[in-house]
């Protein structure tokens, strides 16, 4: 009986490991897809803001085209992904622009949410908000 319980515990632990590995992969995929969407929607003059987008999850930062000072700060959580930029003028483009580009990050977020939900559905079999 005791042996059976131990076996069950081991199986659960194994299953949890698989799930957490899948979760990490899913978060990376959400990050990659998200950066693509954000870059597609970013308004461009010099390209600095567009190049700066990156994602960070589990203490790793992926921002291949960003300048050092423009790179998003490290997210140390294992179960979340942050897509962002550290460009100093990014907030004024997002909130104050009068040329129609205001709200581009919000539009990108709206486009990403359904895709992220699909990714998690595929990987983990369901997701809640």
């Amino acid at each position: 009986m005791l042996l059976g319980v131990n076996q069950l515990n081991r199986n659960i632990q194994r299953a949890l490991k698989v799930v957490s590995r899948d979760e990490k992969e899913a978060l990376k995929e959400v990050g990659e897809r998200g950066v693509g969407i954000f870059k597609g929607n970013t308004t461009v003059v010099s390209g600095r803001l567009r190049n700066s987008w990156g994602y960070t999850t589990n203490s790793k930062v992926v921002a291949t085209q960003a300048r050092r000072e423009d790179t998003v700060r490290t997210n140390r959580e294992k179960d979340s992904v942050v897509i962002g930029t550290n460009v100093v003028y990014a907030p004024s483009v997002e909130y104050k622009s009068k040329t129609g580009s205001a709200g581009f990050a919000l539009r990108s977020y709206r486009q990403l949410v359904p895709i992220a939900k699909e990714i998690f559905k595929r990987v983990m079999g369901g997701v809640t908000d």
């Binding site: 919000l106 977020y109 359904p114």
Partner: protein
């Protein structure tokens, strides 16, 4: 039976939440406006609000509820406005959270604060997303 609200009803619900909250009323009174740029002759603090599009894109197979809405509030305050209990801008922010959480809106950005140089007022821009009960 759950009834989906129309755009007009959602707008009215949002506006009523801003105008009827007791704390907000003491801070900004009835100076809540739809999409406008304040001038120096206005009385401050003052708040404007606006509604964003429902969706970022059309995509086959992705269903969006008509209640997937985001509002933006901007509150303008004098940068020096405040007393021992805190800055005016923070007080309005706290009151906003209480008023809008009550009608199921959640804050989706950190307040972006800018100085409006032509009227010498600080504006805090906050976005609120409706949380739909599934």
């Amino acid at each position: 039976m759950l009834q989906i609200k129309t755009t007009v009803q959602l707008n009215a619900e949002f506006f009523n939440a801003l105008i009827n909250d007791a704390t907000l009323q003491t801070l900004i009174g009835d100076r809540v406006r739809w999409l406008s740029t304040p001038t120096i002759s206005d009385t401050f603090p003052l708040m404007t609000y606006a509604k964003f599009d429902n969706a970022g894109q059309y995509a086959f197979g992705i269903n969006l509820s008509a209640e997937n809405v985001t509002f933006e509030t901007r509150h303008y305050v004098d940068p020096q406005d405040g007393d021992a209990s805190g800055k005016m801008s923070d007080k309005i922010m706290d009151a906003l959270k209480v008023a809008l959480n009550a009608i199921n809106y959640r804050q989706i950005n950190a307040p972006a604060v800018f100085l409006e140089a032509n009227i010498n007022k600080a504006v805090s821009i906050v976005r609120w997303e409706r949380v739909n009960a599934d």
